[in-house]
């Protein structure tokens, strides 16, 4: 037994070396777009328009960021994005949590229909809805209003929130609530004192994820707001001036958009990834 393992060891080490080489290749390929965005954002603008660019950083400057902030109203756009995303998340969380409680803690006639319905509306492509939504907001005089955009964003934030929170709630044992109720808590009291604290991490993760989705939305923001009221994604996508596209400031803008979102995403990714396919192995 020991003989085979000493013989196998160098072979295994060589195999490991091969896998690691392949792994490094994956690392470099997958990470390159990110690296190049940061590299371009911080390099002097004249080095960015080099037909044979140096792959290593050529110097560190913030002038691209200054230029990006100049090109159009970044802070206004970011502010509007923030208002819209936070409002959508706040409304979505309250409304969504009530609905999630209903379908995860109550047995009632029609429960299955509601669950199927909520799953189904998640599948309707947003792009298909843009025409009637545009006409609806036009009729309601909500075109080019942040409130109109907030209501519209609930189309994708709300079903997703309900579904995610449902997943978190069903993982909290009912027995805990029942014990609290046996000890004299009302149903609401049991929820507030027992379920809510346990649900808090799930609520935070779902809010952050919802915030990211709302922040990243592009099509509705483009269609339902005029240029003076554009949000951050539209700001970035329209990054062309009359002199053409200035790529270095555009990458600076991309960096400003991406870094906070990627950091938020890193914080909640683990919790959310499970939600989309929760228990698929069990199924």
């Amino acid at each position: 037994m020991s003989g085979t393992s000493t013989l196998a060891a160098p072979r295994r080490r060589r195999a490991r070396l091969g896998w690691n080489t392949l792994g490094l290749l994956v690392f470099v390929t997958a990470g390159f777009p990110l690296y190049w965005m940061l590299n371009t954002a911080f390099k002097p603008a004249k080095d960015a328009i080099d037909p044979d660019p140096s792959l290593l950083p050529t110097g560190l400057t913030l002038s691209n960021f200054r230029r990006a902030l100049d090109i159009a109203d970044f802070w206004g756009s970011a502010g509007r994005s923030l208002v819209v995303s936070l409002s959508v998340v706040a409304i979505g969380m309250v409304v969504g949590m009530l609905a999630a409680l209903a379908i995860s803690r109550f047995a009632f006639r029609g429960r299955k229909v509601v669950i199927v319905g909520i799953l189904a509306v998640q599948m309707v492509p947003l792009v298909a809805m843009i025409i009637p939504v545009f006409l609806l907001l036009n009729d309601l005089k909500q075109y080019d209003k942040l409130t109109g955009l907030i209501i519209t964003y609930l189309t994708f934030i709300l079903p997703f929130t309900v579904w995610m929170l449902r997943g978190f709630i069903v993982n909290i044992p009912r027995e805990l609530e029942e014990a609290a109720m046996v000890d004299g808590c009302s149903r609401t009291g049991a929820f507030v004192r027992v379920v809510f604290p346990l649900l808090a991490p799930g609520l935070v993760a779902t809010s952050v994820y919802g915030f990211i989705q709302a922040w990243n939305e592009y099509l509705y923001a483009l269609m339902l707001l005029s240029q003076e009221r554009q949000t951050a994604t539209v700001w970035l996508a329209n990054f062309t001036t009359k002199h053409g596209t200035e790529y270095a400031p555009m990458m600076a803008g991309a960096t400003m958009m991406a870094v906070p979102i990627v950091v938020l995403f890193l914080l909640v990714q683990r919790k959310m990834a499970a939600g989309l396919t929760a228990g698929a192995v069990k199924g």
Binding site: W19, N20, G23, L24, V26, F27, A30, G31, L34, W36, M37, T40, P51, D52, I91, V94, V95, L98, A99, A102, I103, F106, A107, F108, V124, P125, V127, A128, M129, I130, I131, P132, L154, L158, V170, E175, M181, G184, S186, I212, Y218, L219, A237, F239, M250, M251, G253, A254, M257, A258, I261, V262, L264, F265, L266, Q269, T277, A280, V281, G283
Partner: protein, 328 residues
């Protein structure tokens, strides 16, 4: 009777009189179901919002596709006129529409196939590399997964820029290759290949990480047994790993099909808001009909056809999700 009732000890003390019961007149032993109205009250705000922002627009989408609805109807100069199936007939009878359908399907199938194969390969690779490298790859995967689509699209636009894009510069370093100045978006297939790369780059992390989580659940004993029975690496993968992962794979594939058939911003932003004819996929085509040609009715008809095309895939996804729901 739900599972929770059976776990309550048989000798439950009689309900205490002191705290007023949350639900007055609650029937005995029904604490998990509550009064029939409570869940509906909790659901009411959600259903109300969804009716306003989903059900109404969806209904309007259907009615629109049977009407004549253009600029003058939008401004209210003319009432919308019912035209029966004329919009559908117009769309389905148009050769360009079928070209778009074919392009969309080829594009989506390519995206999904590459995403699944590369995702699976990376998931398997992650099991075999050293721990430090695994951490590094995971960070890059999660970071690129978290990149906003618009940001990723602008970055790829820059990578593939014809004059100063780093991709052309790198290719030109190969001996005998001169690619600087090559415009990747001059032809539809080449441009869509770049867009496919963008979509796959963004989609692989989710697939790889989810499959990686699934791989940890493959029983080691099963793999061991298969190996003892003489199965090679491929045999173990084919007959042990794949069957165990099948539910996850079905879920990921259906989700990817739904997402990749619905690609919009990648094409739209990559082409500067005006995709050329050879870049049109179903979603941009529907948008184009509605907001560029100002034929909202025909745009709606195209959107409906798109939803119809996806229904089969959605059904598979939903069945899988509901199967999980029943386990709880």
């Amino acid at each position: 009777m739900s599972a929770a009732d059976t776990t309550t000890p048989a000798k439950v003390p009689p309900p205490r009189p002191a705290p007023p019961p949350a639900v007055p007149g609650r029937p005995r032993g029904q604490r998990t179901s509550g009064r029939a109205a409570t869940p509906w009250l909790l659901l009411a705000p959600c259903l109300l919002v969804l009716t306003l922002v989903m059900a109404y627009p969806l209904a309007r989408l259907v009615t629109l596709s049977f009407q004549k609805f253009g600029q003058s109807q939008l401004w209210g100069f003319q009432p919308a006129e019912w035209v029966g199936f004329a919009n559908f007939a117009g769309v389905l009878g148009d050769g360009e529409f079928w070209a778009v359908v074919l392009r969309t399907i080829v594009f989506a199938v390519g995206c999904v196939a590459f995403t699944m194969v590369v995702g699976m390969a990376i998931a398997l690779l992650l099991q075999r590399v050293s721990a430090w490298l695994k951490v590094l790859i995971n960070i890059v995967l999660v970071a690129s997964w978290g990149m906003p689509v618009i940001v990723a699209t602008t970055v790829f636009k820059w990578l593939f820029d014809s004059d100063y894009g780093v991709f052309n510069a790198l290719l030109s370093r190969l001996p005998g290759v001169e690619m600087v100045g090559h415009n990747w978006f001059a032809s539809g297939p080449e441009g869509l290949a770049v867009i496919m790369l963008l979509v796959v780059w963004g989609a692989v992390p989710f697939v790889a990480i989810t499959l990686g989580a699934g791989l940890t659940q493959v029983p080691k004993e099963l793999e061991e047994a298969a190996r003892l029975d003489g199965a090679g690496a491929w045999g173990v993968f084919r007959h042990v790993t794949l069957p165990v992962l099948k539910p996850i794979i079905v879920m990921l594939t259906t989700l990817s099909v739904i997402w990749d058939m619905g690609v919009f911003p990648q094409v739209f932003v990559m082409r500067g808001g005006h995709p050329e004819a050879e870049f049109q996929v179903l979603n941009t085509y529907s948008y184009d009909r509605a907001f560029v040609v100002n034929d909202y009715a025909q745009g709606s008809a195209i959107a409906l056809v798109t939803v119809g095309l996806l229904l089969g895939v959605v059904a598979v996804y939903m069945r899988q999700m509901l199967k999980i729901g029943e386990v709880e």
